[in-house]
């Protein structure tokens, strides 16, 4: 394994992150300087910084063709890292836009700075090629997210949410760290791409490797909220400020998948006969439990929490399929899931401002109060339910095809049955939105321009992924190829 010597040009690879650091500093500075009345601009500035970083990434930080390890092997400059970094910056941007009028977080510089910190952490998670780097990035992200979840200090639910998230997170993180230490202990290596060979050549018996594998899985399972490490998500989703919930539900989950896929494929290829079936089983339980419990929910945020657990289950099918097309399917699935969930949460943020409640029953009459919002909601929920011509259809299709291709027909069957259960509760919510009336049918809901932009981008993304899926899937396939 050769490490490229440091050369200032490699700094271009982390140019987006540098921009984000500058943006964060700027936001903190202006927070002090600007009067309260102007601080709405902080959110727009954050969104702008993220957009700029994403554009710079597209221009200057294209993945190196040889998937080079950079910064002394700390990071890998490959397609997977590239796609996921764009994904995080996109979701950060949308969340910043969705925050500008959100109660309690909108005018606080530190909120946006922490958000940017979380995005930076995730970017490094996706690129990390070394256990140390991986852990640092993961903790950077996690601590930022704990803070964000508990950001509404005066709100008991938010405080509970932050604390719960922290306790679960710290515990699973410790388990994962123990797993890392075992791996290091067996081999004396920390680089992900040297570990596998070292495990093999060092003659480490299978059992200890499996123990390390399980411990690592606990940490990643927590991040993607896979069963049985999902318990935190409904409470955290419900209590956290809604833009933060949106962010946790998409970016944090996607980051979890990025490291999960990278570590599993890079470090444990020799025991894949063990973990692939395990992942398949976890996926079955994750889908089924998420969907089943979602049926009973009365609170929209809790419903989406269980729905997001189920969605993680579908994505895990791609990993269980253990093939290039399976990994590509995961990446596509997460792209689709990110735009979809952000659109849905965007509607919820606006609706909650007008309705003042998270209860599904209170969404009655939304289609009359704001046909546009209701339409975005419809698009988002049907995409989650896997209906064409929306992204969700292709997402599920790719995942199931990958499963059938790998001979996991049974897993695909369980997946499609789950999709039916999912469709049921998504439709139930849509029914409330479109069918029922409320006493306030005539009061329209105001949609500020920042929100309209965010929702428009996401809806467009859903339709784009649902119709012209080819190029996106090619992109995902190229990234997946770089892993093997």
């Amino acid at each position: 394994m050769s490490f490229n010597p440091f050369n200032p040009e490699t700094l271009l690879a982390i140019l987006p992150e540098l921009v984000l650091v500058v943006t964060a500093a700027l936001v903190m500075g202006l927070d002090v300087v600007w009067p309260e009345s102007r601080r709405r601009g902080l959110g727009l500035l954050t969104a702008g910084g993220l957009a700029l970083a994403a554009v710079l990434a597209l221009i200057f930080s294209q993945p190196s063709p040889d998937n080079a390890l950079i910064f002394g092997g700390m990071m890998r400059d490959d397609g997977l890292a590239f796609i996921f970094r764009l994904l995080f910056m996109f979701s950060g941007m949308i969340v910043a836009l969705l925050s500008v009028d959100s109660q309690g977080v909108a005018r606080k510089g530190e909120y946006y700075a922490i958000l940017l910190g979380a995005v930076i952490g995730m970017n490094f998670m996706a690129a990390a090629a070394d256990l140390i780097m991986l852990y640092l990035a993961l903790e950077t992200t996690s601590i930022a997210l704990y803070l964000l979840a508990g950001f509404l200090r005066d709100d008991d639910k938010s405080a509970e949410s932050g604390l719960k998230y922290f306790l679960f997170g710290a515990f699973t993180s410790a388990m994962m760290l123990y797993g890392f230490s075992l791996l290091f202990g067996f081999t004396g290596k920390t680089n992900l791409y040297e570990l596998s060979g070292a495990l093999l050549s060092g003659g480490v018996p299978t059992l200890p490797v499996l123990v390390a594998l399980l411990l690592v899985l606990v940490g990643f399972g927590f991040k993607v909220s896979a069963v049985p490490f999902h318990f935190w998500s409904p409470d955290v989703y419900e209590g956290a400020p809604t833009p933060v919930t949106a962010f946790i539900s998409v970016a944090s989950k996607a980051a979890g998948f990025a490291v999960l896929v990278r570590v599993m494929v890079a470090v444990f290829p020799d025991v894949e006969g063990y973990w692939a079936p395990l992942v398949a089983v976890i996926s079955v339980f994750t889908m089924t439990l998420g969907n089943t419990l979602a049926l009973a929910q009365r609170n929209i945020k809790r419903l989406l929490a269980y729905s997001s657990i189920a969605q993680a289950g579908y994505a895990l099918i791609g990993l269980a399929a253990l093939s290039e097309s399976g990994i590509a399917a995961i990446i596509f699935y997460l792209l689709m899931y990110t735009v979809t969930n952000l659109a849905t949460f965007g509607v919820i943020i606006l609706a909650v401002r007008a309705i003042g409640s998270d209860e599904i029953a209170d969404y009655a009459g939304l289609s009359r109060r704001s046909p546009g919002l209701a339409l975005v909601f419809l698009v988002g929920f049907l995409s989650l339910g896997g209906m064409p011509p929306l992204g969700g259809f292709f997402g599920k299709f790719f995942v199931f095809t990958a499963a059938v291709e790998s001979g996991l027909v049974w897993l695909a069957v369980i997946g499609v049955l789950n999709a039916i259960v999912g469709l049921y509760y998504y439709l139930t919510v849509l029914k409330v939105v479109y069918l029922y009336r409320s006493e306030r049918d005539n009061e329209t809901i105001a949609v500020p321009r920042a929100y309209a932009l965010a929702l428009g981008l996401c809806s467009f993304g859903i339709l784009l992924l649902g119709t012209a899926a080819g190029p996106w899937f090619s992109w995902a396939t190229a990234a997946a190829r770089g892993l093997f």
Partner: protein, 535 residues
């Protein structure tokens, strides 16, 4: 490159739907005008394609193919043959007449027409699909707007229940078929080494032997495997029934009358007139044409289920008091005839099936339109409460009677043209491949009287149909006009009359001049039979 007729037809409704959504909410008339324009445009193009199809050349024509997802060999791939052409025309006609009779919808007409038109795009997309993925994609697009259309604009009493039931039934069916289709795709790819969802490629690979392997279901508790059977025989039922759910096949027909009843008039027309054909058509295209070995094996017993459809459906229709339920069950019965025709595996049966799909589509659309008009004015659909409607709306009475005669199979109308060959086909059918069926079923299906007996029993349905149709005509349109209807029930509008005239006209034209459609369908049936190894 020639003009992309089929794509334009497919996307006309969707584009019109988007335009309508973009109009301001209070511009209701403009929304309706856009809808009408789209309906007229689609109908004209469909007529052009219908008469522009070269029957001498046969096969698929008006083909367009574009890459969609290259990694999986998915293409946007459309073309029409003699079986799909009448259905494309049918869809356009139902869309046009549906707009005409929905003119009066006042609750959120923008959304109504937008959802209805998304559905129409889905239906067109399925009928012209030559790529398996393409077919599924549009199939789902055709299914989910039904939920909203029924739940929002449907009949208050049952709409929530019926909409959910319908959606879940159809979605379950389609995803089960999807898994079967994925299995076919993987088998073909392993055989040819090339990923392709094109149904033509899959069919060629099938002919070359891509599916000639066995599927073994292992016993999880050890011992001998539970089931060893050929791939086609194993996959066929999943795919066939998955789609046939939408065709209303027994015992999965139960969603359909509920759905018909709860839906608003234009949606019922679409639903019974076009959507049920979608199921039958996809079962033929994907099930029978791609898995002919499976079809030869399974259809001889599936005919028994369709017999239940035909006879039981008509008897249930007989007992209904609600006109919409009556028509709903009559649809189950008539669509049963289509499925039964599929099981014949001979020319008469398949031509009859093609004709019946068109004929029944027009006829049911007409029925639902008539019932909708009566309900809008009398606010009841219960036959005992109605009467003497012919005096108030003579035009509707005439149209309903023409539809009724079609339904009974009167010569001179399209029903006769369609049903006669079906019965002939069933009479002449023979079971081709019974090895592997349970013993009693195998020996039963091999009896020379098996299919003739089925033809005889199903002919009972004609008598029953005559009974319930005539009874309905007598109770609703003749007799005494109940006093409370004397004043507030008026005649229908010009738009309604136009819609009814178009539908009646089609039934009469096809009835007196079947050569306008039958030879066309025959061009498509011949290759199907060749795949099945008949002839």
């Amino acid at each position: 490159m020639s003009f992309p007729f089929l794509s334009v037809i497919t996307f006309t409704p969707a584009v019109a739907g988007l335009l309508i959504l973009l109009l301001p909410a209070e511009r209701k008339t403009e929304a309706r005008m856009v809808a009408l324009a789209a309906g007229v445009f689609a109908t004209i193009l469909s007529l052009y394609v219908y008469f522009g199809y070269d029957q001498a050349a046969g096969g698929y024509q008006f083909i367009e193919q574009y890459l969609w997802v290259p990694q999986w060999g998915i293409t946007y791939y459309v073309g029409v043959d003699g079986l799909s052409l009448p259905l494309v025309l049918l869809t356009a006609v139902v869309m046009l007449t549906g707009v005409l009779i929905s003119w009066g919808i006042d609750d959120r007409p923008r959304e109504f027409f937008a959802f209805l038109f998304i559905l129409a795009t889905g239906v067109f997309g399925v009928f012209v699909a030559l790529d398996l993925f393409h077919l599924f994609f549009f199939y789902e697009i055709a299914v989910f707007p039904m939920y909203l259309l029924i739940a929002i604009w449907g009949w208050v009493k049952t709409r929530e229940y019926a909409a959910m039931k319908l959606t879940l039934y159809l979605f379950i069916g389609s995803v089960i078929a999807l898994v079967g289709a994925l299995a076919m795709f993987v088998a073909v790819r392993d055989f040819t080494g090339e990923a392709s969802f094109s149904m033509l490629t899959i069919s060629q690979a099938q002919q070359a032997g891509a599916f000639d392997f066995n599927v073994t279901l292992g016993n999880p508790f050890g011992g001998a495997p539970l089931l060893v059977t050929s791939f086609e025989k194993f996959v066929f039922p999943w795919v066939f029934f998955g789609f046939a759910v939408l065709g209303g096949i027994f015992p999965f027909h139960n969603w359909s009358p509920d759905g018909h009843v709860a839906a608003p008039t234009a949606v019922s027309m679409f639903h019974a007139g076009v959507l049920m054909k979608l199921g039958a058509f996809a079962a033929l295209r994907v099930g029978i044409m791609l898995l002919p070995e499976g079809a030869r094996f399974h259809l001889p017993w599936i005919v028994l289920l369709t017999l239940v459809n035909v006879v039981y459906g008509s008897f249930i229709a007989m007992t209904q008091q609600d006109m919409k339920y009556m028509i709903g069950f009559s649809s189950v019965s008539h669509m049963g005839l289509v499925a039964m025709a599929f099981t014949t595996l001979n020319n008469d049966g398949y031509v009859g099936a093609g004709l019946q799909m068109f004929s029944h589509g027009v006829m049911t659309a007409l029925f639902f339109a008539c019932v909708g008009m009566i309900y809008d004015r009398a606010h009841t659909r219960m036959m005992p409460e109605l009467g003497g409607m012919a005096r108030k709306m003579p035009f509707v009475a005439v149209a309903f009677i023409i539809g009724g005669f079609t339904s009974m199979g009167m010569p001179g109308l399209s029903g006769f043209v369609a049903e006669l060959p079906i019965f002939l086909g069933v009479w002449r059918a023979r079971a081709l491949d019974v090895a592997g069926l349970p013993g009693w079923l195998a020996s039963l299906a091999q009896q020379p009287w098996y299919f003739p007996l089925i033809a005889l029993i199903s002919a009972v349905s004609i008598v029953v149909t005559a009974a319930y149709v005539l009874r309905a005509v007598q109770r609703v349109f003749f007799g005494d006009l109940p006093h409370e209807f004397e004043h507030h029930v008026g005649d229908v509008t010009v738009l309604d009359k136009t819609a009814l005239t178009i539908l009646c006209g089609l039934m009469i034209i096809l009835g007196v001049y079947p050569a306008i459609m039958a030879p066309l369908i025959e061009t498509a049936v011949r290759p199907v039979l060749a795949l099945l190894g008949v002839q």
